[in-house]
């Protein structure tokens, strides 16, 4: 499946990037396509395009704070989780997404 999403954390320094790295590895190892935008102290990186979002089967919001641009995901199947959950068990989280899309 195609997963897109955004990651953000309280300080915008560390958890955002660790969560993204773990999520991307777990998703790719399970054979999925994934693109995660980060919203941190350095601003927004790896921005999602409207096409990325249109093509996605599911949207994941991995965040401990409000992320900007939530309106972009209107109408998409969206899962929101805190960064801790993804850092702790990225593989289980991907399995959960798989069960939602099935």
């Amino acid at each position: 499946m195609k997963i897109v999403g955004a990651a953000a954390c309280a300080a915008g320094i560390a958890h955002t990037y660790i969560a993204k790295a773990k999520l991307v590895t777990a998703a790719e190892n399970a054979g999925h396509e994934i693109h995660i935008e980060t919203q941190g102290t350095i601003g927004i990186r790896d921005n999602l395009t409207q096409k990325d979002i249109e093509d996605a089967d599911i949207v994941v919001i991995v965040a401990d704070i409000k992320i900007s641009g939530m309106d972009r995901f209107k109408g998409k199947k969206t899962v929101e989780v805190p960064t801790d959950l993804v850092i702790k068990s990225p593989k289980n989280f991907i399995k959960k997404l798989e069960s939602i899309i099935k």
Binding site: I13, T16, I18, A21, I42, D84
Partner: protein, 152 residues
């Protein structure tokens, strides 16, 4: 990008002797002070503990990443302490901690984007099981640096 720019031998220590979390944070903060990354240990620690109060910084697999934004930071950097003995820490997997990455970030980051990018890259690498495995086996500052520089 070249991560060696942000990995500074003066603030990396192996065989660090600390009995608990506060000692570990203090030792690393003092190293940051000695190397002129921060100008005040106490106020820096206060800002680190503020972030600690918001949530767990033990990310599992024996790694902790205390961090925070502090006016006492003069230069962005990351102090790394590999502990001689495992210590208690609030962690996601309820294990202790064997290696601490203390991120020093200032409140005014206008001219520091480049360094913040490097920190983000370090954090990303901490999301790799392979990197963690190597870090836990590292015996010198050089070993630790190589984990981040190797695959450039």
């Amino acid at each position: 990008m070249n991560l060696s720019k942000i990995l500074d031998d003066r603030i990396i220590c192996v065989d660090m002797l600390a009995d608990n979390k506060d000692e570990a944070i203090t030792i690393l903060s003092e190293k940051l002070k000695d190397a002129c990354y921060i100008d005040d240990v106490e106020s820096f620690k206060k800002d680190i503990y503020y972030r600690e109060s918001l949530g767990v910084t033990g990310i599992g697999d024996y790694v902790a990443i205390p961090h925070g934004k502090s006016d006492s930071v003069k230069r962005i950097g990351i102090a790394i302490g590999k502990l001689k003995h495992e210590i208690e820490w609030e962690t996601l997997d309820d294990k202790g901690v064997k290696i601490v990455f203390l991120f020093a970030v200032s409140n005014n980051n206008e001219f520091a984007e480049n360094h913040l990018m490097l920190l983000a890259e370090i954090a990303s690498k901490l999301g790799s099981e392979e990197a963690i495995d190597k870090l836990l086996k590292a015996k010198s500052a050089g070993d630790i640096k190589n984990v981040f520089i190797e695959k450039e």
